[in-house]
Subunit: 314 residues, 4 copies
């Protein structure tokens, strides 16, 4: 079960489709193996970048079952965000029964005031069952909702099963510092994994994050940056990260970024198809050429990238 | 099957729950009978005021099955709005198989530009099956999305299964006039039923609406106003409507209105419980007293209100 | 100077333009006289319905000077909402020097969290000068910002010059009750005047409002309803209010409502022109006919309406 | 006068304040000299990152006067975005009289439908005078408004004085390609300068942009990247850009970015104070240390950075 000691990289998994838009369950196995091979510490499925709202209920279950089975000992976190509590509770029960390690919840955008957000998560905590660990996803760019640090503290204080913050406020560096400062004055510790494409990962780790929960097409870079920072090798961590930054930045385009990620994963030989379900679309010809250029440059400059990335970039 | 000749009152049905929050299926029969007894021309379920997002998939199916069975020959329209196309298609297939007359779709708020809205509905039309009639719900107060008249025309031109406009733009009177004007210059005819609590019903009918698709706690008033207006008895229609306007206005409070409606339906003896699922809440003590006052005044001044309403108000 | 004992009707003044869009300063005198003649207790200018953002800085000053001069002993409140503090402070200083009784501030929509709202008003309070009384305008329908009751309490506690709440949350009845309840547990008293078209005025007064700050085209009705409610003549107050409700409701259409109001004021002989500055537009032909119908019906049913209204309706 | 042949770097100028928040007009001269010394092709003042809404009307004029006088032959573009047309027209007249080369207009967020945006710009074009060249600012991240390419085409077709697109949609690369494609089928040519921090500058130039209109703290990098790309030295352009990307990315944090930029400009010796007017705040201690680190790394890796940057970074 997921708890507040979680650290490292929980990769945000894409959802593989075949060329007709059907779930690619065989490809799901391959993808899970790839993630495991990159050295990730966990897998998060059915997040926003996992096209969760595009799956019918039964498809969500089928995909979760496959990933959880394949991931073996790797913990699997499942996004269960929903416009209502009953569907959220139904999906949570199903995936926890399948062996998920916990669930992730992004609040809807229209909550009213600090109290509205606290009450929302308290209701979630109760509806999913207080023995189900959950990740509070703080992602204003996606839902327009600002979650103050004081609200996070109140959720933590009243929901024992809130054990992780998926931090993707933007700007967000000072927020990590502020959350950790609260812990020094008595707030229960949370695991903090950063999302938002990992665009500030080395700094975020120094501010107090425990790792990343994002889906960059080169998970091994995220893993290695976390390792280097943990080892106190700051300059090397930045060097590696900065070498990837042109592509990280390119992948971090709202809406368009998932097409970039799926294209890169296909180029790396991980995905058989980079199709997204509608309204998602594939990259344009020009975009593909730009990604190819970035992959090429990445291939030439990064010494620690694993075999796969070099092959893709060559 | 629903088509562009639909007219009269398609009542927006509430969803009855018991005091513990479970679906009240027996109460559903009683509610369907009540609506039929008011003389409505159809029933619309799983709309926003039907707490649709609060139901798990199986509950939606169960509720739809019960209403469709009980409604007999009355057409039942089912709201299938969803954040993704696969869940929308799955629910549509299920309810059409159960005998629904058509489905209703409110677009999400973040669509981009006129083309984005047109493309959205074209994708819906294809995903639900082009033989499934659908209602385009135009409700900017709820989703922040303005749908220009020219966009409605383009949807109608390219989606043969778009056969009705649920009009609840606000302000919206001139929009009805504009849509009907387009029809004079070649746009295919749509049925237009007005929502938004029916706050402008008599005027809307004169502007060209075919009726109402809203859920006011006195459906018989909506039915009678439509009848009077169709008969050219304008002053009587306004007299009746204006007698109800204090309560119509009171019920038309965003967020709070459903609690008012359920309270009034319980006072009228239609609902066993006025419980809403969370995050909905019951009316406050003060609000209850105000509704009681309005029901009292309504009882005293409205001669055509049916027996039930008088009993409630006494 | 405005203070927390303010009560009655502070009419939200329109801004009169001539047919070419210039400020109609002579018409401004006539308008101020009309408002005074209706028995209002104050005049609020340069609010949202006063087309404030459409005036250049010098025009705002000129209009304020004229109204303040003409209003004599009637207190004049001036809307000074602005995207930045320096323009707000500049306008405040100018109008207070001219003799305004206080200013009104609506916050921008994007404030973050409860603290963000409190800080915003604290900065306002400081920037306009702590000896300038200000009205906190709570109008989520216009700016998308929910202001929790606890936030209002914190603003009141830390800003001695915050002396009035312009209440136009919607739904908002329980909010008035909640603010008054806080006062019982120690919060400093605020004057509460309701806006939002006065759509719930008699109930709002019973909940604890001190009056109205709205701009309905028949200010004398607002004045009389306040008087009747203060005298404990509840049924009469509702009777009068409900007779006007069809027009109140018609005027309370977001965006379109000001055109309705200006049209009605022109029909009553108060305004020489009902022109709004762009992007505002006049009422359509159909809308004009509907207002005429409502004025006609109002003329027939309202015994206390003053002479002007009967003339207009005839 | 600005026209559609404009190219290169129009730097988005910060507005210098002294430590008490007053306009620093002497510092304004120094800043203008710095920008000119970096080789920029124009200066854009009173943009969003110029804290425009925080200036009172007279301050805006005073600042514009000073920059225009100091800039000499360098064209100065002035942001005149305003919630209403009269203030926009008043500021435009004032700054054009002072010698501005043109104005820049960002639309408000709430425009309705494609037609609403077109009409808005047509009204602007008329209100500022059809002989005043204007820049259409397309910045959805700031105002939530998506401007479709077809809308841009319609504005260009009907507003002869619309001569430049400030492109900062995000993602936006394919949008540049789409605008240029329209020109091939008959749309009048626009200058396209990219904003959004220049986060994709080399790619944007290849897609068809004519340069940048952004305010990165090292304008000389923007100038040089434009020069290298124009010379067909693609790899060198990317090398230089990518060396700056860690800082570009750091500066491109919504809300927080301006504090970063002002801090960096102060460290470089350009600004005497990095104070922002409220609600802006200075960088935190941790943020300052991170910028210092980035400046250090930049100093070590960038061979073409001019003297000032090396000094700052050492």
């Amino acid at each position: 079960m997921l708890n507040e000691t979680a650290r490292g990289v929980f990769i945000i998994s894409v959802t593989p489709f075949d060329e007709r838009g059907g779930l690619d369950l065989d490809g799901t196995d391959r993808l899970a193996d790839f993630y495991a091979g990159c050295g990730v510490d966990g897998i998060t499925i059915l997040g926003m970048m996992g096209e969760a709202p595009k799956l019918a209920h039964e498809e969500s279950i089928a995909f979760a079952r496959r990933v959880i089975a394949r991931a073996g000992k790797l913990p699997v976190v499942v996004g269960v965000s929903a416009p209502g509590f009953a569907p959220m509770a139904a999906l949570t029960k199903a995936v926890m029964d399948l062996g998920a390690a916990g669930v992730m919840i992004a609040p809807p955008g229209g909550l009213k005031g600090d109290d509205g957000i606290v009450t929302y998560f308290q209701t979630c905590a109760e509806m999913i069952g207080t023995d189900t660990p959950f990740v509070l996803q703080d992602f204003p760019l996606a839902n327009g909702l600002h979650i103050p640090v004081g609200v996070i503290e109140r959720v933590v204080a009243t929901c024992p099963n809130c054990i992780m913050l998926k931090h993707e406020d933007w700007p967000g560096l000072d927020k990590i510092t502020a959350v950790r400062a609260r812990e020094k004055s008595g707030m229960r510790r949370l695991s903090i994994l950063v999302g938002n494409g990992g665009l500030f990962l080395p700094f975020e780790l120094e501010r107090g994050a425990d790792g990343a929960m994002t889906g960059y097409a080169f998970p091994e870079m995220l893993v290695e940056v976390c390792r280097l920072m943990a080892a106190g090798r700051r300059s090397e961590a930045h060097d590696l990260f900065d070498a990837h930054l042109p592509l990280v930045r390119y992948e971090q385009q709202p809406g368009a970024g998932l097409a970039v990620r799926k294209y890169a994963l296909r180029k790396r030989g991980i995905l058989a198809s980079d199709l997204q379900r509608k309204p998602g679309a594939r990259v344009s010809r020009e975009t593909a050429a730009e990604i190819d250029w970035l992959l090429d440059r990445l291939g030439g400059s990064v010494s620690i990238a694993p075999r796969e990335s070099r092959r893709a970039a060559s």
